[in-house]
Structure formats: C-alpha cells, structure tokens
Symmetry: D2
Subunit: 264 residues, 4 copies
C-alpha cells in the first residue's frame, strides 16, 4: 500500500463448509508480523470477512486451513414446487454484472427450446459451457454478462455471470459462489453458480473445470461484486501477486456436471 | 395478469418505522376478495415483503396504514472514525444501477474539491441536486447512474443512484431507501439515499422534493433492483395503474437538506 | 423552435431514385412562407440534404414528389468474388448503433450454422426477422444493436441495425438506407438494409413490412446516425409532429424477401 | 495469418500532406517478397487505403516516405460565421466511439462555463488535457468516450474521442485524424482532433504530446473506427508487432497548444 489502508478479505472457508481442523490467517507488513488488527465479520450464507487495517508498506496475507466436510450434503430433490423465501427473491434480482432485466427478451427467445422444470438451470449451464470459449485473463473487472455474451469468451467469473443472468431471466434464482476448487488448472480462486432447485440449491460449474463435490465455499453473493477476495475499504492498494493452492487427500472425484450436487 | 402469477410486493412500512396504529393489505382478483394467499417475509433493515399468489385476472392491491414514529431518531454524530461492519461493506460495493467501480476515476477528479470528512455524502448529494434536472418519467427501468450522469436529467431514483454511486466511489457507504414521502409533488413512491455517517446513517434526498423527517421507510437495498414495489416472481404481469397518497397530521416540517437527519 | 436554429433535413428522394416528375419542399414559419433560406447539399449515394435556417417559432416543413423509376435495377449477381472498394470497407466498419466489433464472438457462434456465400446477408436478415418482435415505439434514439439483441424487440431501425451488425461481424459489408415505403402500416419513415452482394448491393428488409421493389431511397449511411430525417445543427428544436404518406400508382408488388432486389 | 486474408492498411501519408520525395510500401510473406497484390483506394480527405491480399503465413508490411510540406497551411480565421457543408454535418453526428447524443446533457452542464465562440474547441481540448491522465495501454479497442470519461484515464485515441464527443455535443463539428507525430514519446501512431473553425479546420492534440505543426496526416474519419492502421477484411489475422519511427530534419518546433494550427 502507498498509504495506510483498510482491506476486507474473503479468503476463509465459510462456516458451513465443514470441520476446520487447523486454520491460520497470517498478515505481515514489510515482512514482519506487526500485530495488525484483524476482525472477522459474518456475512451471507456462512461467509466470513476479515477486515485488516494496515499502515503503508508491502502487505502479505496468507491463509491456510484443512477442511473436513462433516457429511456430504444431500442433493436437492427434483420438485417443481416453487419455494419463495427472501433468499430466492434476492437471487432473482438483477445485479451489477448479471443484468437479467436487460437480457430477458434474449433469454426467452434464445433458450425457448430448453425444457422448463427442475433441470432448467443445469441446461442453462450446459448452454453456457457449449457456447463460450474459456480463456483466463480475457476479461477485465468491469465486464458484465452482456459483454461476455457478445465476446463469446471469458474466465470462470464470466461463465458464471452469464449462466446466472440467463437463469434469473428465465425465473430461476441463481447466485455466485467463490470457492476453492481442487483440480482446477491453472489453480486460482474459482467461481461457480448456485441455483435454486426446489427447497434447496444446486451447484453448477459452467466451465466444468473442477469436480463440484470437492469445492469449498468461501463467499456467496449476487455476483462478483459481493465475493471479491480483497476489497479496498480505504486507502490506496495495489495487488502485487496472488497464489492459490488446494489439495484433496484422496483422488479427485469424477463429475459428469449433470447430476444434482449441493454445496456445504 | 394474463396467467397465474406470484408477486413480491414491497409496499408496507418497515418494522422499524414506528408504531403502526392500523394497517390493511387488501388483495382482490377481478373485484372480489378471493382469499388469495399472502405471506410476509422479513428482509433487510426492517423491510417486509409480501408474496401474493394469484390466478389470471385483474389483481388489485391496496395497502394503508397509519404510522406514529415512537421517537425521532438521533442524528448521527460527525465522527470521522471509520466503523467497518458487514452493512457498510455491502453499501460500498458496486451494484446494478450504481457502478461505482466504473465511475471511480470520474468521481476522484470531478469531485476533487469537495471536502473529505463526515459531511462528504451531503456535499455529494448537493452536487447531484445542482447538476441534474428533475423530470418525472425521463428515465426507464434499465437506466443506470452512468446514463443519468450523461443525460443530466432523471427522476428520484436516478438522482439517488448517481449520489450513491459517487459516494461509494469516494469511499462512503451508501444505499437506496424506498419511502413514503408526504409533501412530494406529484405524489408517488419516492427514493432517497442513506449514507454512512460515523457509527450511524444519515438520510439524503438529492431531489430535495420532500422533508426528510417525515419520510417513512419501506425497503432498503443497494439500489432500485432491491427495492421495487412489485416484482414478478413467476407468470406474466402488467402494471395497469398505481396511486400513492400520504398525509401528515400537522404541517409539513421544513428541511434545509444540510442538517444531518436519520431515518427510523 | 424556442430559438433561431439551423436544421439539416433528409426527406428528399435521392438523386438516383428515378425521374422526379414534380417536387416541392415548402418551409413555413408560424404559418407564413417567409422565404427562409434553404440550401441543398449532396451526400453519400445520391442523398440530398436540405439545410434550413430559421428564426424562433413554429416551423413547418412539407415535402412532396412523384418519382418514376427510370428502369428497375438489375439484381446483383450471386458471385462469391470479393470486390473491395472504399464503399465496402466503410460498410464493414463498426458504427454508433452497429457495434460489430463488440458482437464478433456472438455472431460467430450464434450464426455458425448459416451457410457462407452470397446469400449470407439474406439468411442473417431472416434470422433477425424470426428472432425479434416488431413493436413501433419500443426503442429510444440511444438504443443500439446490442440493446435490441438483448431486448428481443424493436422498430424498423432496430431490426436493420441488428442485421447490419451481424452482417459486418460475419464479414459482409452492410449499411442503412432510409426510404419511403409504400404499403408500410402504420405509415412512417422506414429503414432497411443494403448489403454487399458481389459487385453490387442488395436491399433487405428484416421487418418484411413493405415490398422492396417499391422503396424510394432517401439517405444512405452506416447507421441511423447518418440518416436522421431532421438534425439540429444549432439552436433548440423540438419535434411537434410528423406525418408520412406514400402511394403507388398500381397494386403493391408482392415480395418473398428471398429473391435478390436492388435499390435505385 | 492463420489463413489467406485481405487487409486494408492506412499507413501512407495522405495525398494532401505535401510532396512525397520517396515512398516505399514493401509487403513480404514469410520473409520473401512474393508480389502480393496491393491496390490503392482513395478515401476521405486525401486518405489512401492499401488493400493487400495474402496467403497464410507471416506478413510483414513496411512503409517509408519523406514528406516535404509544400507550404504551411494558413490557420483558420476566428470567424463566428457558421459554415454548413456536408463535411461539417458529418463531423457533428454521433459515432461508434464518440456518442455525442448520449453525452449532450453532461456536456451542457459540465462545460457551461466555457466561453462559446471560435475558441470553444480549444478550451474543450484543454479541459480534456487537464482532466484525463495519460497512460499508454490503459484502454482496449472497444472503449468509447463514455468509458474514458468515467475512467479518467486513456491513451491518445481516448483523449481525442472524448474531446470530439464534447465538441459535437456543444455543436462544434469535430473528427479524428490519424497522424505521424515526430517528437511523440514513446513513438507510435498518434491520433489528434480536427475541429471546425469558421470556414476551415484546426488541429488539436488534447494529450499535448507532440507539436501540431510537424504532424503528417494519414487518415481522417469520424473516430478510430475509420482510421485503424490495419483492418481485416477477410480471414484470420493476428498482429504480432508494430513499430513507428518519425524524424524531422530540423529541431522540433514548439507548440503552446493554444494558437490555431491547420493540418495539411
């Protein structure tokens, strides 16, 4: 940081993700642990935001944890009953990068042939997978689902934004989940979709780059505006470098990206 | 409605707004009260969403209530201490109609001369008041703060969106509040800004069309995507007509739009 | 006009449109012919712009003419030879309402199945016809081909802008022609597409609302920014009212909208 | 090129720029001069477009010329008389990257204090110079004057687009000129503004990075959509590398960027 700054970090596993056997958030300034004040805030859906206040200098943030899912979540049932709660209403609304209001007409005609019903979100994610070319670094932080649709290319964030936008435009509540994704290559933070399915939510990865059952939830929100791993609350901050590493104890599970899967 | 439909309504006074002496939400279909199922959901900051399921036909929704503020909220103090909580972080993030990320460079140069400190949000609202021309009906529902800045004209929603966006771009958490606004002319639903001020929030009306101390909070959110008075959750719905009427028992209070005021 | 003003009008039949048997451009201010100065400028592809200087007041402009096409233009041949000239390069470039550069990825995937070759522009126009809903007054003057694609609805200008944009994105030079269109209902100014076909140009109407062989060319340009029927060059001008009437001597010809047709 | 391709190049000095003492356009494919067909097309305002047809391979294009301006153009006089011709009407219209129609309201209020009259374009260019931060590579090819205004940063293309847009919104015809600019650092193709001044045009450089009297005109158009140094007309082409070098025989002239200067 060129100046003193306050940062909001979203890097810790969500409180719902499972048993955290060990966890360490280390924050150093110019190489030395200086006892920088860090506070933890609870956010939506088990998310944990860490607020760090720092003086000017080179800040290093390191987070590590081992997470053991207590039990595998039951996949949501294929009921067609509409369950309306505040969460699903929020996940239907247009947002910064998912302008479902602007895309309603396009979605209705382009996806007219997709079968309505409990599997609709999955066929939307499949459409996005078939349609877009994956290219890391092809988008910038201002790009929206509209830009991605027009360009035909994007990263995980863009694939998810487009799938979320089309789901909402078709009446399916959908939101973004920032996750750790063992098996992702090249390794990085990953973003997937959580779509309403009956009384529950299913997780969808329109990029199909990592098995869904090994994902660990970090942050949940309407789109990437809510799930950024670092947000500058005050001061001038420049990102120098970031690195992510995730491993699973056993072999990576397979994923056909068609069976419903829930995320803890 | 041309079809059966499910609607989410945000028309009731927020639970924090004061003592509700009488309240009635009447829903009729084709002129007859049919015992349509209505459920109430609690949302952000005391908001109450009513979910109505209806068959095809002409739906009429009527809400009326008398609200007596138990006590006038204390205006937030002029402290410069930054209070960081989950609410203020959410109110700093870019949103559908308030793309503060895109407008950061503009805000920094255009408003470079505005004095930083606890009164910054108020001077931003004053800049918007001076800058925009108020014209009811000049915008459509897809218009964002960027469109408003470029056009130089807007309605209450647009004035508030631009003020919120500039506040966020300058580091001040800000959000939208849908309100009943006695004195507004022509009478309609109104939208104002709630900006962080020390440990509290102050209410700002960049249109200056109604006194802030008589406002009644309905819904609170990052922008108009979250506070719409009616949202179609399923089915085909067309708005035929809406009418709003509000009165105060005594004379309307004056408002200089400079003194800090809080909203219950 | 609230003030003195200078207006550029594009209402006269292009010089290429045929024999003009009688033609009258009448300009009155506050009901009286005042000998307002009118000059004629030649523009692209036979277009004629009339520049009118006027004092403040209520300006009335009336244009009438009978046009007899000297001969029906030969339809362009189905050659696949690329003819590159300055006109075709200009008609390939992105423009205000036809952002073919932004839509290149979308066009390549969405229209991957359309057969390349001399009939490509025609199948693009057919795709637009099938895809969009026609609704007069559904768009505003700032709407672009991107807005139209997303909304799924538009007027003749929007249908043409989307077809032009997709043509360019697929490598086919295309431009807008403002025309008089006998048979159009409701009658108004009309906008169609002129797309390169071998050494010539074919005219396409993605709305299919009027037979192409009866169209009379007014103005030609990259998009509606170049073909507006009235442009304010200086002063404050408000459009009060406009009316268009066109008739053909004989029965309206049929149009299958598939046979190549050229526009004089 | 991965495929055979046709390219339109705009790299040659405009025919109006002066006496060309020697000129050479060399085109080689995979290192060997293969007698690739090159044709020259005349475009707007003396521009010369070279169309190159090539097979797949690594294409190298090299252009060099010495230009001696026959005489220094007379600066346009400071008359306030409006001269309306087809050129000035075209330069008033909104275009791909210069959406003056969308920015009319902003321009009218933001620049309300700028003195109207023959020097208006120059004060607009000065406003852009003061307002934007110059950063080569900060924008991408889809960015418009609106994006630049919001971001507050850009390259020469962006500075010129914003100045052109504001000029048009204030009623001053303005267009883009691609130029060779001795003294520019780092050296590259440069883009400047040509704004109407009485019966003539003056050249303005909102970046102030090179003296205007040493500029050599290449291409002239409504914005960068018309002046790209290379445009792919068919085939798949990727730019590997480009380099520009310009020198003047004598010392670089000084430029105060306030005196009216015309461009040959």
């Amino acid at each position: 940081m060129a100046t003193a700054a306050v940062l909001a970090l979203q890097v810790a596993a969500a409180s719902t993700a499972g048993d955290v056997l060990d966890e360490r958030l280390a924050v150093t300034l110019d190489g030395a642990e200086k006892g920088l004040p860090v506070s933890e805030l609870a956010t939506h859906r088990g998310g944990r935001t860490h607020v760090v206040s720092t003086d000017a200098g080179r800040l290093s943030v390191s987070y590590q944890a081992s997470v053991r899912p207590e039990k595998i979540p039951t996949p949501p049932p294929a009921t067609e009953d509409v369950v309306v709660d505040a969460e699903s209403i929020a996940a239907l609304r247009q947002s910064r990068y998912c302008q479902s209001d602007a895309m309603a007409g396009f979605a209705a005609t382009e996806l007219a042939a997709l079968e309505r019903g409990p599997d609709l979100a999955r066929t939307v994610a499949a459409w996005v997978f078939e349609r877009l070319e994956y290219r890391a670094g092809s988008s910038d932080t201002l790009d929206t689902a509209v830009d991605t649709l027009l360009a035909g290319v994007g990263s995980c964030r863009d694939f998810s934004h487009l799938a979320i936008t089309l789901c909402r435009a078709l009446g399916v509540p959908a939101r973004l989940v920032a996750v750790y994704a063992p098996g992702l290559s090249p390794m990085d933070f990953h973003a997937v979709v959580e779509a309403r399915r009956g009384p529950g939510w299913e997780v969808l990865d329109p990029t199909r780059l990592a098995p869904r059952s090994s994902l660990t939830r970090i942050a949940t929100g309407r789109d990437a505006a809510a799930t950024a791993f670092a947000t500058t609350l005050s001061g001038q901050v420049e990102l120098m470098f970031s690195e992510v590493s995730t491993v699973v104890d056993d072999d990576l599970p397979a994923d056909d990206h068609f069976t419903p899967v829930s995320l803890a």
